[in-house]
Amino acid sequence: MRPPRNLLLRVGTLAGLLGLLTAATASTHDLYLCAAFNNGSRVMGSNDGSSNGLFKRTADGFRHVGINYPLAISATFDPRDAQVIYVACLSGVLRTLDGGNTWRLVTGWDETEPKSIAVDSRTSDHVFTGLPDGIVVSRDRGQTWQRRERGLPGRGKYTQVVRADRSRGGRVLIGCESGIYLTENGADSWRRVFATKETVNDIQQSPHDPRRWIAVTQSAGALESRDGGDTWKKIPGLPADKALYNVAFDARDPQRLALASWSHGLLVSEDGGATWTPRNAGLPGEGIPRAWRTAIDPDNGVIYAAIFGQGLYTSGDTGRSWRAVPAMEGASVQTFTFVPSSQP
């Protein structure tokens, strides 16, 4: 019997690293990861004894939270109550109402493989889930779901990302196969605000200006909107030849942005997105690191880079140097979620 992986996690302490970072400013956010320790290539039915799913950053590492679920993609919180967590996973939407002690798979047989979930910023009983074949919406905290796809195309609504506009209730942007779609009435109807041939992989709202949004796509490069997502412009400084996976703002510094791409590695901008520089030195992998996901810590500006199948890295100098997060070797981090701490 090998000990469960989350025990191993606790062995390696992060004090050395995170200690000095958190020394700068007291951490006011909790960090949650959706991660797996199976090289992201787990065979259905295989047994590798690892603990996977949702992890929460603690003083001495990352603690596995709740269900051991190898294919958890993203976690979303109820802005009113951080005890309420929605996790998009292969089986559907997992929900906890008590901070992860008890869970319920709230979706049924006709919802599968959600990638992204958003909670309405005003009416947080309203939850939006993106599926490979469209959108389902719940108006009772995920207890029940209805398809709400008026305005979405019959085909081409593979949905990779769902984001709620924090500034206005009922306003949600989704990234689909055929473009970016917007609803302003809680998904009663949708309209396309940007057309693509391939999937829109990520959409982020600026922490500094709610009207500013950035989207990254598989084959249309990166896009920016200054009017709350109504219109989009290509960001010139970024390549469109290969898929871009996700983008991150720095909540402390509007000039700092990070972007992850399998083909280009980690790209950073320090001038609000006008120019971008690869910051791959020190990241693993021969040639360009397979950057799967990136995030910027809202408390201290530390950049996180998840390298496919090769663990988690942090940089305190905007990507100029990287350090592996101990005991995260081999982890595949799917998404990062920062949540305002329950206690300051």
Binding site: N39, S41, G108, G156, W262
Partner: protein, 636 residues
């Protein structure tokens, strides 16, 4: 990744066979001659008992590792050592579980087999894991069949438990309702527009076993009869597509091994178990035990048994099937698959119209011949376009574009992204079959990863004769074959694959073992085509006569702008087939829109009907999902 590799778990199991399995290593079973109920029943049960016995014998007292769920099920099926079994269960359940739906259905079986034998502790231990262990539902039809059948049965076994007592936080009633809704939905699809993972070499186990469990254990009589009917349906389909028990023709999803050695597939276990007409694969296909432990609760309908065993008359079956779900890059979620299967005593010819049905594991067409003993024999001939594409995978898998190919070649199945692959379908292939003539046309963009066609020439062919006419003649068993490449080609020998140890259940490495006899006809041209015709040795005075007959047939073709063929077949049909256009036979266009769900002498069902009629001689069985009715009729 996980999604398309599930089956390799079976292949893993297929390879482990430590101790003797009578039927696997023994002589070929004699074709059944006594069709009396008692004779069929006795032999059927004897085969199931052989499997159970083999697992019971596999338990080594000093080695707990040899005492797993399968052995437990075998013991319970024989009502042996309930105490020891219970103790072992408590032990096994004391650690974290894994394997998802592959865990769910075995422990569901154990729970039912043991419900009157196991100690309360053992039952509680299993039940406890249904709270603490969170199995994934997976993303394929076979995963869901196992997942929801298990969930359904467990929630009937523990009918009134609260939400908190189940892994997914739903009450017994909620789980039962959800599982039933899905299973009914799935049966509805399969009985109206066709089976998704059609003609499965391995996945038949993933469907037949859950259906047997429903038929055996479901308390709700509706689900019980549905399970029974669907099991009949699957086995009727199997019977119709096997020759001497070996599955033929196209497959939605298969693997590198089964596509060459057609016998080496889980489907052969089911042929052996249910029809008694071929040996079972090693370890009874790994899954066999899970059917065997409940086999006594099912009786193979005589009409299906006879359909599997009677090849006295040639027959042509046309079926409608369904592609895998395409999430992206497609105008339709699931495309129709038009499957043709022509069966003769000496050989079988099967195909679908080409195009994509599954990103990785599909097999589009082949001509396979009967052999006295199929074990180790590569009794097949076909060609493929070796197609590998991230976009293809993205259309079926909810994944980002880049990692899949990389993973496959680095650690998954190196056979996916290689120029000499023999498995898989292609968007650039169009196939038409008329009886025992197959025309496969290719129009591969120059920019494609591998703009070439691979034709498979088996080590078991004899008299392979490239002819000045352009035809390549050969003989397999009692079958004459003629293969016509439409573009220049050269020969390569086939590389092998070696399985490496891996906790994930699969890890393969390509190895060049030199020329082992199997050859690849490689035609490195995007505009291309293959024509194959087959005939029984008995139909011609000698090989020369067959060759002369083929040569004498009018044949015109051109490759530009798109490949097109005009020819007369050995059966005298005038065929005109152009890539991207409807084929014509004797001047008449083939209208696929008119195809029924099943059409032929043995299986018939109208599209959308939910009703299958199985016919063999004077026997008829009708499975009607509209009225949940099974009807057995004898025509006087």
């Amino acid at each position: 990744m996980k999604r398309f590799l599930a089956h390799s778990l079976l292949c893993g199991l297929l390879t482990v066979s430590a101790w003797a399995q009578p039927a696997t290593t023994g002589p070929m079973p004699a074709p059944p001659t006594d069709f009396a109920t008692d004779a069929r029943r006795t032999a059927y049960l004897a085969r199931a008992n052989e499997v159970v016995q083999w697992y019971v014998d596999s338990i080594k007292p000093d080695n707990p590792a040899t005492f797993q769920s399968a052995q437990i099920a075998a013991k319970l099926a024989r009502h042996e050592d309930a105490a020891a079994v219970s103790a072992r269960i408590v032990e096994l359940m004391s650690v974290p579980q894994s394997q998802d739906m592959f865990w769910m259905f075995p422990w569901t079986a154990v729970s039912y087999l043991g419900r009157d034998q196991l100690t309360p502790e053992a039952k509680a231990a299993i039940r406890g894991q249904w709270k603490t262990y969170f199995p994934m539902r997976g993303d394929t039809e076979n995963h869901w069949a196992m997942y929801y059948t298990s969930l359904y049965l467990m929630s009937e076994l523990y009918p009134d438990d609260p939400a908190g007592s189940w892994f997914n936080g739903k009450s017994s009633a909620e789980n039962r309702a959800e599982a039933k809704a899905y299973l009914v939905h799935w049966m509805d699809l399969a009985t109206t527009i066709g089976q998704g993972e059609f003609n499965p070499t391995h996945y038949i186990g993933e469907y037949a076993i859950p259906m047997l469990y429903l038929a055996t254990w479901a308390k709700d009589p509706e689900m019980k009869i549905r399970g029974h009917m669907k099991l009949d349906w699957l086995l009727a389909d199997l019977a119709e597509n096997t020759l001497n028990g070996v599955l033929r023709g196209p497959n939605a999803r298969t693997d590198d091994t089964s596509v060459l050695q057609r016998w080496l597939a889980l489907s052969s276990y089911f042929s052996w178990q249910c029809f008694g007409n071929t040996p079972p694969p090693a370890s009874y296909g790994g899954f066999g035990i899970w059917f065997a432990v409940a086999a006594a609760n099912y009786e193979v309908p005589e009409v299906i048994f006879r359909l599997a065993n009677d090849r006295s008359e040639d027959f042509l079956q046309r079926d409608l099937k369904r592609s895998r779900r395409k999430w992206r890059y497609s105008d339709e979620l699931m495309s129709p698959v038009y499957k043709t299967n022509y069966m003769r005593r000496d050989y079988a010819v099967g195909s679908y119209q080409g195009g994509m049905t599954d990103p990785i594991q599909a097999h589009v067409w082949d001509v396979t011949w009967a052999v006295p003993d199929p074990r180790g024999v590569h009794n097949t001939m076909f060609s493929v376009h070796p197609y590998a594409s991230a976009q293809a995978m993205q259309s079926y898998f909810t994944e980002l574009p880049d990692h899949m190919l990389a993973l496959l070649s680095s650690q998954g199945k190196p056979s996916y992204d290689v120029p000499d692959k023999i498995l898989g379908c292609s968007p650039y292939e169009r196939v038409f079959q008329d009886l025992d003539t197959v025309i496969a046309l290719y129009d591969i963009p120059a920019a494609d990863r591998y703009p070439r066609v691979n034709g498979f020439f088996s080590k078991d062919l004899t008299d392979v004769t490239p002819d000045a006419s352009g035809w390549i003649f050969a003989r397999g068993g009692n079958t004459y074959l003629a293969y016509r490449p439409l573009a220049p080609y050269h020969w390569e020998h086939l590389l092998g694959y070696k399985q490496l140890p891996s906790k994930a259940g699969y890890k393969w490495e390509r190895v060049d073992r030199g020329d082992k006899g199997d050859k690849l006809l490689v035609s490195p041209h995007g505009k291309n085509g293959t024509i194959v015709q087959a005939a029984s040795v008995g139909e011609f005075k000698d090989f020369a006569a067959f060759q002369a007959a083929i040569r004498a047939l009018p044949l015109e073709f051109k490759l530009e702008p798109v490949p097109t063929v005009k020819m007369r077949t050995l059966r005298g049909k005038e065929i005109a087939f152009t890539y991207g256009q409807a084929p014509k036979v004797d001047g008449k266009k083939i209208d696929y829109a008119k195809w029924q769900l099943f059409e032929g002498p043995h299986l018939n069902a109208a599209k959308g009907s939910r009703k299958l009629t199985i016919t063999q001689g004077r026997l008829e069985r009708t499975l009607d999902f509209n009225t949940l009715t099974i009807t057995d009729r004898v025509t006087p």
